[in-house]
Amino acid sequence: MSAQDAAKLSFTIDGKEVKAEPGQTILQAAALAGIYIPHLCAMKGLSPWGSCRVCTVLVNGKPQAACTMPVAEGMIVENDTAELKDLRSSIVEMLFVEGNHFCMFCEKSGNCELQAMGYRLGMLQPRHDYMFPTRQVDASHPDVMLDHNRCILCARCIRASKELDGKNVFQFIHRGAHKRIGVDAAGGAGGTNLAVTDKAAEACPVGCIVKKRVGFAVPIGQRLYDTKPIGSHIEAGRAAKE
């Protein structure tokens, strides 16, 4: 055992021993160990957020978000269980019925993480009833479009703008059922300093923030999740190289 290995702490996920550095989250340690814990709001390079709750695991029997929960020596994590799969499916289905997700004409289809999560969890139809909310489309920016119908309020754009772009283009406004992404200008995204090259323009897991004039460059059927489930690269042990 090397000195570095000795410094690591150890815990288990579904009975499998996982080594981790102090300060890592369960989600990060799991990914490096080749274990995929389904997640949507968590994104490599961004600070943990914990809003989608898809990554809910049991830590010593208690539900916790794997993306915000720091690892601890000896903790017992349950991830791949029928109960948790059902809980995650229910949450993903909540996201589907809460917004207006029309995959059939969405540019993100095939690359969409929400859709991919539905595929991975085997969702054929949500158990919840559709809400069909009235939401806005903001096309005021010359290069980027915001379609709030598809937003899942994961805050990846908020964090990417702040943490990676050094800007503050996005922030949540309102609360509860009315919560939505606000932009740093009265008249829409066009009035902000958002640039098409910003990481924030790429952080969206769904088709809410999409770039203009580059749609459908990759045909439907040849996209990221068309043939392989989301999480495959982690399960193939490629998380570190990501």
Binding site: V97, E98, I152, V169, Q171, F172, I173
Partner: protein, 611 residues
């Protein structure tokens, strides 16, 4: 709207253009300009060197802020479950008729706005309204007419002739119509209080000794969760940080809870004394009282109590002559958000942000207000801590039960002869309490507010204490003829309204649960809906991020447990048929109106066929 901009500039200046005081700035702009208009957002952002969207984030989070001009008199009718049972609907109808507007609207003359608001902490004198920051209790339809006429002609709140309440409610700085309804004084919170005695005793000990004393008393948090107070203080003391804070959670928003209102009215000195002792124990020199916006009528009075304590050497530098010990307290007003009673959301709000809960861990004891170690305790807990230091831990631990020492201040409302505040040692049974408050023919008791549990008569023999029936104080009594499912639905309305929306299960799940529960009340429920309620409730409970979401399904889960037959009765009416998720008759109504003919298929029948 230059006015809005110049008001904003001036208010920002008053707070030293400190973005940490954004809450106070927004409260100031709303009060002075009547709204927080888009221009105000621009101006505040400029003055505080913030991004506009960050200001908008906070300005749009709280119910008391509005981007549209509100009337000079904003009338907020409390529509919580208790108020509804005691005639809030009649009062609402009277206001609508008198003002000629709907709720959510403002009169054309710009004088009145009408709004609903969740529990304002007056369940013992319901129905109640807030007019700006003035409280009017036991509102009748006759009073509505009088209020509107007086304000319409007088155009000033000063013209409202309100009968002042008892105790300090008639203090010149309070002058509120509120009554304490303090029915039983116990040995801890409402016993006679002499300023400085507990503090003097505390300062004669080492800080670590104070923590030992609190631990020995087995004091647990009075807000409802019951975390051992001594441990909280110990963690905060041990945590590294340049500054440390003591926060008092006076955001008493849990429906049916109003004991903090009475404590702050009758024993504010004791609260501040407890905070000061906590400051000494954990090594903090700054304290914040987070006072819910609904209790703004107490603000001037509380500020006066603080000023007097400063003058008496009980706050400030070298307190009571103890060289080097300094501590002072500021009051942070809230602006209408139940979630801010959740301790980390409260901290976000104190920092001037939208009241979203923070990620835990780290806990406030490690990283709280401004990421510094912070003790947060309930109003009543601070009082108890001061008394424990004054009278000793064994004195305190001799009251109550083994796991729940001391007294508890209960807020009792609903169907009983003497609603009000009762300070009673832990361990009293529901039955005993019901007898004391004059409740007869009780069919259900809601313990711990909307986030608590509804119990039926079979559980009335149980004790109020942390290991049986835990409550932050709220006890709502429901008598014969009340419908447990309708009450649960009222609570779900509350959670839908008050969810911060940060996490999926709470933001979406609360709405789904309310809708599904509604089907039972409308006679559209099928057997599978019971299963749906149970499973979805568990998802919301297990997967939500903070205490609000984790307890939001409790109205359903506890009625499923205690009043299952009520659910089954609703299903029985429909047999085992599959029912549409909607009412087809209603769904064709608009089209039928346009076409001028009745539906071919759904004229009278409700739709639905055998599965």
């Amino acid at each position: 709207m230059t006015d809005n901009a110049s008001v904003s500039r001036q208010v920002c200046g008053n707070f030293g253009n400190d973005k940490g005081r954004l809450m106070d700035i927004l409260i100031g702009v709303q009060a002075q300009a009547g709204c927080i208009a888009p221009e105000a957002l621009d101006e505040i952002a400029k003055s505080l060197s913030m991004n506009r969207v960050e200001v908008e984030s906070a300005a749009t989070f709280y119910a008391f802020f509005s981007d549209k001009m509100r009337g000079r008199f904003v009338i907020r009718l409390c529509n919580d479950v208790i108020d509804q049972l005691q005639g809030a609907d009649r009062v609402a109808a009277a206001f609508r008729a008198e003002l000629g507007i709907e709720f959510g609207q403002t009169t054309a003359d710009g004088l009145f706005s009408l709004a609903y608001t969740p529990c304002i902490g007056m369940s013992d004198q319901a129905p109640a309204v807030l007019i700006n920051d003035r409280v009017v209790t036991k509102v009748s339809t006759d009073m509505v007419r009088e209020i509107v006429q007086t304000l319409r002609t007088g155009k000033s709140l000063e013209h409202l002739k309100l009968t002042l309440g008892d105790g300090n409610n008639s203090h010149p700085l309070v002058r509120a119509m509120v009554n304490n309804n303090l029915r039983e004084r116990g040995a801890v919170v409402f016993a006679p209080y002499t300023p400085g005695v507990a503090l003097q005793r505390a300062l004669s000990e080492q800080p670590v000794e104070i923590i030992k004393i609190i631990k020995a008393s087995r004091l647990r948090g009075r807000g409802g969760a019951g975390f051992p107070t001594g441990m909280k203080w110990e963690f905060t003391r041990a945590a590294p940080g340049e500054r440390k804070f003591v926060v008092c959670n006076a955001d008493e928003g849990e429906p049916g809870t109003f004991k903090d209102r009475v404590i702050l009215t009758e024993a504010p000195g004791l609260v501040f004394e407890g905070m000061t002792i906590a400051g000494y124990a954990v090594g903090a020199s700054e304290g914040i009282v987070y006072l819910r916006g609904e209790y703004a009528y107490l603000l001037a009075y509380l500020e006066d109590v603080l000023a007097k304590r400063r003058a008496a050497g009980l706050l400030g530098r070298d307190i009571l002559g103890k060289a080097g010990f300094k501590f002072d307290i500021r009051i942070q007003l809230g602006a209408g958000a139940y979630v801010c009673g959740e301790e980390t959301a409260l901290l976000s709000s104190c920092e001037g942000k939208a009241g979203n809960p923070k990620t835990r861990p780290p806990f406030p004891a490690q990283k709280g207000y401004l990421d510094m170690p912070t003790v947060i305790n309930n109003v009543e807990t601070h009082c108890a801590a001061a008394r424990i230091v004054e009278n000793g831990p064994s004195w305190f631990a001799s009251m109550g039960t083994k796991a729940s020492s001391g007294t508890k201040v209960f807020s009792v409302s609903g169907d009983c002869a003497q609603p009000g505040v009762y300070e009673i040692p832990f361990g009293i049974t529901v039955q005993e309490l019901l007898a004391r408050v004059g409740a007869t023919d009780t069919i259900a008791v809601q313990v711990g507010g909307a986030s608590g549990r509804m119990i039926g008569p079979s559980e009335f023999g149980r004790q109020f204490c942390f290991d049986q029936l835990a409550t932050g104080g709220s006890v709502m009594v429901f008598g014969k003829g009340r419908d447990p499912l309708a009450i649960a639905h009222g609570f779900m309305d509350f959670f839908v309204e008050e969810s911060c929306g940060y996490c999926t299960p709470c933001r979406v799940g609360t709405r789904l649960l309310r809708e599904r529960l509604g089907r039972f009340l409308e006679g559209r429920a099928e057997a599978a809906d019971l299963d749906y309620l149970e499973k979805t409730s568990k998802v919301v409970k297990n997967a939500s991020r903070c205490g609000l979401g984790q307890t939001a399904p409790n109205p359903i889960l506890s009625t499923l447990q205690s009043f299952r037959s009520e659910y089954e009765r609703c299903i029985k009416k429909n047999g085992t048929v599959f029912l549409p998720s909607f009412d087809p008759g209603k769904a064709v109504a608009v089209a039928a109106g346009i076409a001028g003919r009745a539906s071919e298929h759904f004229g009278t029948k409700k739709g639905g066929v055998k599965a």
